[in-house]
């Protein structure tokens, strides 16, 4: 009887393909946890208030555990504590270390940014001007990635001169790339900080006939990004492993509920490192992705 099963919810911070991969992980975990009802929840808007509301409702509906990618972890602490007092709470994607969450499972955005920074240094041995593109420049993940990049390229001749935001509107994302090409003829490298930014960069450069002349560095594993990497037009992309978050996280929660707390380290932080995908390993990666999403 489905109603009697304990509910474990994975609450994400907004709809995107990225979470599809996590969902695949959750599904895999579901296969191994027949006594639980695992759900992946998308708030209808990427706003803290909406997400809080959703978690309140989940608690009201009797969820046994919640794993959340908090929209705004720094300031949601109090609310997270409230949830943690009523049910088992994990964080993922971006941590809230000061809260009473039991564990964090995810990557470190600063580290991911550093990886991207290294890619930039490698792609531009003689230095150059770079412009970044991102959905919400103020969001924590964007800030941390940018911080990581800046830290790595500090002191080199590579410069990140501007980061353009687009409110997650892809039309504007593409438009921003077009405008930057028009405004800055001497730009030598474009960085897509959100998953959909890199494909838009790739398309604009392709239409302008500038593939190969301007370097592209990306984040995440959009199919077009991977295609570009394979083709050599994109220097490389830094990916996270949301599949593992979903899979490991759910299993860990179930274990924890059943009383086995050994999987959670003392500081509660479980980092799943990111991966740098370039021409050398892109085929392997694409293969494993396909395998993951098939389930």
């Amino acid at each position: 009887n489905a109603a009697d099963k304990k509910v474990l919810a994975f609450v994400v911070n907004g709809a995107s393909d990225f979470w599809k991969i996590a969902e695949a992980g959750v599904k895999k975990a579901q296969g191994e946890l027949p006594n639980y009802n695992l759900q992946l929840k998308y708030p209808e808007q990427a706003a803290a208030a909406v997400q809080q509301r959703m978690m309140d409702d989940l608690v009201a509906a009797g969820a046994a555990g919640i794993m959340v990618s908090a929209v705004d972890p720094k300031n949601q602490v109090e609310h997270l504590n409230k949830i943690a007092s009523q049910t088992l709470l994990f964080t993922t994607d971006s941590d809230a270390p000061n809260s009473k969450r039991i564990a964090y499972i995810g990557s470190s955005n600063v580290d991911l940014g550093k990886d991207a920074g290294k890619l930039m240094l490698k792609a531009l041995p003689n230095g150059g001007k770079c412009v970044g593109f991102v959905g919400l420049p103020g969001a924590d993940n964007a800030r941390e990635r940018i911080e990581g990049v800046k830290e790595t390229i500090k002191g080199s001749k590579v410069e990140l001169v501007d980061v353009r935001g687009d409110e997650i509107d892809q039309t504007r994302a593409k438009r921003n790339v077009e405008d930057i090409l028009a405004a800055m003829p001497d730009v030598s490298c474009l960085v897509g900080f959100y998953s959909y930014n890199t494909p838009r960069i790739y398309e604009v450069l392709k239409e302008a006939g500038k593939l190969g002349k301007i370097q592209i560095i990306g984040f995440d594993e959009d199919p077009i990004t991977l295609g570009g990497v394979k083709e050599g037009a994109i220097a490389g992309t830094v990916v996270q492993q949301p599949f593992e978050w979903g899979y490991q996280g759910m299993k860990l929660m179930a274990k924890y509920i059943e009383g086995d707390k050994s999987g959670v380290p003392a500081n509660g932080i479980i980092i799943v490192p990111g991966k740098v995908i370039d021409k050398s390993n892109v085929d392997d990666f694409m293969g494993s992705m396909k395998a993951m999403l098939k389930k």
Binding site: E44, R53, K74, G165, E167
Partner: protein, 337 residues
């Protein structure tokens, strides 16, 4: 309570009963209290919107004002150590000023309210984002303003039910607004100006003043809501905080019987409209409907409700001597003699 409000209430009860039947947790004290907390916050700015809609205007900047004033409020008390009562007063005053500016642009410069407030929507949002450099404004961990928190986001136990203070605030605001709109001279003037500004002027009503007052009231109430939201989320990402809230507000007002042509609407209706919208939100989460369908469910229930209401109205009319055509012409154009 008029017929329109009544049928809205029936719709809410039906939806509530269905939800409670499928998932009895809907009726749990905690859940009801949470929902009512939301009703409190959303209701206040929906009433604000109703004032402007009644005079035949529209206010699209509600969401952006909530973001901008929320950011300012948090900044004042967290970063500038301003006493919260002073900050509270300053924010309400800013809301009133925003309303005054909108009203002046509409009445003095004769710019369409839609244009004025659309520009407001864009400008305030931009200002909020620029002010924080797109970063989130928040209380940070451990920051604590016990009195303020208790007043705005706290709950008081009443016969075992934790009554959210935002609901108390809504009840007070609604009661005052009700008296103002439905019993006072000023309310009469609001409706008169909304129905026929020219005729109102010929009756000695200073229609421009009345219109400006409506925008000012709207601004003030929105500022109040902004503080409640800021204290609820305790953090504001200026890029998204409160976005689309103007649509919520207008939807609640329209559901509650306001006509965008002005001159119509009741406070009870607006509050019920807010309740319906919030129950629908609650429903999606409680029934485990995929979140992607959240909006769709909301739209579908509203549409079905309005359609059912309209169907009943039309049937009643067909039964009585009046014919359907009359209704159509009433809705579309003023009666003629």
């Amino acid at each position: 309570m008029n017929k329109k409000d009544l049928s809205l209430l029936v719709l809410i009860l039906v939806v509530g009963a269905v939800v409670a039947f499928i998932n009895p947790r809907f009726l749990y004290v905690g859940n009801l209290s949470n929902t009512l907390n939301q009703v409190g916050m959303f209701g206040i700015f929906s009433i604000a919107e109703a004032f402007v809609i009644i005079i035949g205007g529209i206010e699209l900047s509600v969401g952006s004002v909530i973001a901008l004033l929320g950011v300012l409020f948090i900044d004042l008390i967290v970063n500038h150590d301003v006493n919260w009562m002073v900050a509270f007063a300053a924010i309400i005053a800013s809301g009133l000023v925003i309303g005054l500016v909108h009203g002046a642009l509409v009445t003095r410069m004769h710019i369409q309210p839609f244009v004025v407030t659309l520009c407001g929507l864009l400008i305030y949002r931009g200002a909020a984002r620029y002010y924080t450099e797109d970063a989130t404004a928040g209380f940070g961990f451990g920051a604590s303003f016990p009195t303020l928190e208790w007043l705005t986001a706290g709950r008081t136990n009443l016969l075992g039910f934790p009554v959210p203070h935002s609901l108390v605030a809504l009840i007070v605001v609604a009661a005052i607004a009700w008296v103002l709109l439905h019993r006072s001279v000023f309310g009469r003037y609001l409706y008169a100006v909304g129905k026929n500004e020219e005729a109102a002027r010929y009756s000695g009503i200073r229609s421009e003043r009345v219109m400006v007052s409506a925008y000012v009231i709207c601004g003030g109430l929105t500022a109040f809501a902004a503080i409640l939201f800021a204290m609820y989320t305790r953090s504001i990402s200026p890029a998204v905080h409160g976005s689309f809230y103007e649509l919520y507000a207008i939807a609640a007002a329209v559901l509650g019987g306001c006509s965008l042509r002005g001159g119509e609407g009741s406070i009870v209706g607006v509050v019920l409209g807010t309740v319906l919208l919030q129950v629908l939100q609650n429903l999606v989460n409680l029934l485990g409907i995929p979140s992607s369908l959240n909006f769709a469910v909301m739209g579908a229930v509203i549409l079905i409700g309005v359609l059912a209401d309209q169907y009943l109205v039309q049937r009643r009319q067909r039964v009585s001597t009046a014919k359907g055509r009359t209704q159509a012409s009433l809705a579309a154009a003023p009666l003629e003699g």
